[in-house]
């Protein structure tokens, strides 16, 4: 057994070395990778062309995309661009998981940012908690995007609320054996979420992945894909992430 002191020294040393390595990597990123990318705050014609070129090559349908949002790093404009890109891609549900709690409070700002960027792009954006405003579509082929903002509260606390409702007898949950099956409990629980499809893909930025309490029941088969090592949001990493998602092979236990 190593003595406590040696262990402590080793711990500090190893983490110091890793810190240096990560710092070098970051400098490299800033100097080289960033320079190659033109950072644009608007949805440009180039974005539309890139999506139209690449998306038809992807075979796997993507129904529900969730973005883990840290308002310390992501601007409303970043999120709005993600929505517009998804509208063009044809993803019907786009949700934001609000890690800091700031996004729910600034929903109006997000709404305005999206409306601003949507100009000239066909399709509808619908908010789960707002009446339809921009109901115009160009024919039947235009895409729709439903937007939801989730937070920790919608996860475990909502499951607890469901159990409480069953306990109080407010909702009935069928039980054929002495314990609920996944189907029995799931049937009651999903009613509390307006039948939103389970997320297919979660995008996160930054070096580490965590669910931050995102909808525990629904993320059982969700793929977690890093959008960018830094917290930047750009079209090429968005398309790159969609490609990665397309390569994920689900075996459903088999």
């Amino acid at each position: 057994m190593l003595s406590r002191l040696i262990r402590q020294i080793l711990f500090v040393l190893v983490n110091f070395v890793v810190n240096v390595l990560v710092a070098v990597q970051n400098v490299y990123h800033r100097l080289w990778v960033r320079r190659c990318k033109v950072l644009d705050d608007e949805v440009t014609k180039n974005d539309v062309i890139m999506i139209m070129d690449n998306v038809p090559k992807m075979k796997k349908s993507l129904k529900h995309l969730v973005v883990l949002v840290d308002t310390n790093h992501h601007s409303m404009s970043d999120l709005a661009r993600l929505v517009i890109w998804s509208l063009i891609t044809g993803i019907p549900y786009v949700s934001f998981h609000d890690i800091t709690g700031d996004l729910k409070q600034n929903e109006e700002k997000l709404f305005l940012a999206i409306e601003k960027k949507k100009k000239g792009i066909p399709g509808c954006i619908k908010w789960s908690n707002k009446p339809d405003l921009n109901g115009y579509t160009y024919g039947m082929n235009a895409n729709n995007v439903f937007i939801n903002i989730f937070s920790y509260k919608d996860g475990r606390p909502q499951i607890v609320e469901c159990v409480r409702q069953i306990a109080k007898g407010c909702i009935n949950c069928e039980k054929k054996t002495n314990e609920f099956t996944t189907e029995e409990f799931g049937k009651v629980l999903t009613q509390m979420y307006n039948n939103i499809p389970d997320p297919d893909l979660v995008l996160y930025t930054g070096p580490h992945c965590c669910t931050y309490g995102l909808l525990p029941w629904q993320i059982r088969l969700t793929e977690f894909i890093q959008l960018a090592l830094e917290h930047s949001v750009d079209i090429s990493s968005y398309i790159g992430a969609l490609y990665k998602y397309n390569k994920c092979d689900q075996r459903f236990g088999k």
């Binding site: 890793v18 314990e179 799931g186 580490h208 059982r220």
Partner: protein
């Protein structure tokens, strides 16, 4: 513990060889964790969904489990010396009776060990675990052990088979949870690595631990249970041990 079959394919051997290699890797990893002083390790060995695999493969996996639990019971003295407590999480009623009896024996025999807790998720899914936890609470209400006001996140957490995880390692390049510890990962550092499970080395484990050390969230203070909650939980635990004892006799 992903990638046993891909490992077998890569090395042109039968998938059962891959599963055996995967098991050997588990005991090796356990040894590393003991040396590193990790107090709790949970592995996802068999999902409820895995019952959908071919009859032959399911039978082979059940045989593997029988064989390993038998060997484990043979070496129970060594396990007790190491202080390993074995806990099998999942819907045990789905297991063949003889395997269930072995599993129950292993849990009862290592009940008092406290150096390392090894949780083996077998016939497990996260959704199933939450559903069973919810049933226990509803039963508690119906038996008047609990009132609806007692129901909160902390209580549901404690009725589940598994506790919160700090670090979750998923091997072989998969980037999803596959119905594992859905409730417990809300603050967990998720570490996805491309290495196949049978090829997982101590360096991979150390890399995962360093990644965790750099990104770990602050530790939350533990909440104390109220009297009624504690009474309910104690009763639930007693019932569980009694059930295990009844499985042994079968």
């Amino acid at each position: 513990m992903d990638g046993n079959r891909r490992f077998a394919k890569k090395n042109s051997v039968q998938s059962s060889v891959g599963h055996h290699k995967g098991f050997d890797k588990l005991s090796e990893t356990l040894k590393w964790c003991l040396d590193l002083g990790v107090p709790e390790v949970t592995v996802y060995a068999f999902s409820i969904e895995n019952f959908k695999r071919s009859e032959e493969e399911v039978a082979a996996l059940m045989d593997l489990a029988r064989d390993k639990f038998k060997r484990l019971l043979d070496e129970i003295e060594l396990i007790n010396e190491w202080g390993v407590r074995i806990h099998v999480a999942g819907r045990l009623s789905m297991l063949p009776e003889d395997l269930r009896s072995l599993v129950a024996k292993a849990m009862l025999a290592t009940k008092n060990n406290n150096i390392l807790q090894l949780n083996i998720a077998y016939a497990y899914t996260g959704r199933d675990e939450i559903s069973r936890g919810a049933s226990h609470i509803i039963d508690g209400i119906q038996n008047k052990d609990l009132s609806p006001e007692d129901i909160d996140e902390d209580l549901l957490s404690q009725t589940l088979d598994l506790g919160e995880a700090e670090l979750l390692v998923r091997t072989s390049g998969e980037v999803r949870l596959s119905d594992f510890m859905l409730w417990q990962v809300s603050r967990t550092v998720l570490y996805f690595t491309d290495v196949l499970w049978p090829e997982f080395s101590i360096w991979n484990l150390l890399a995962a631990i360093i990644h965790f050390q750099r990104n770990a969230p602050p530790v939350l203070p533990e909440l104390e249970n109220t009297k009624s909650k504690q009474k309910f939980l104690d009763k639930l635990e007693n019932k569980w041990w009694q059930e295990l004892e009844s499985y042994v006799i079968c």
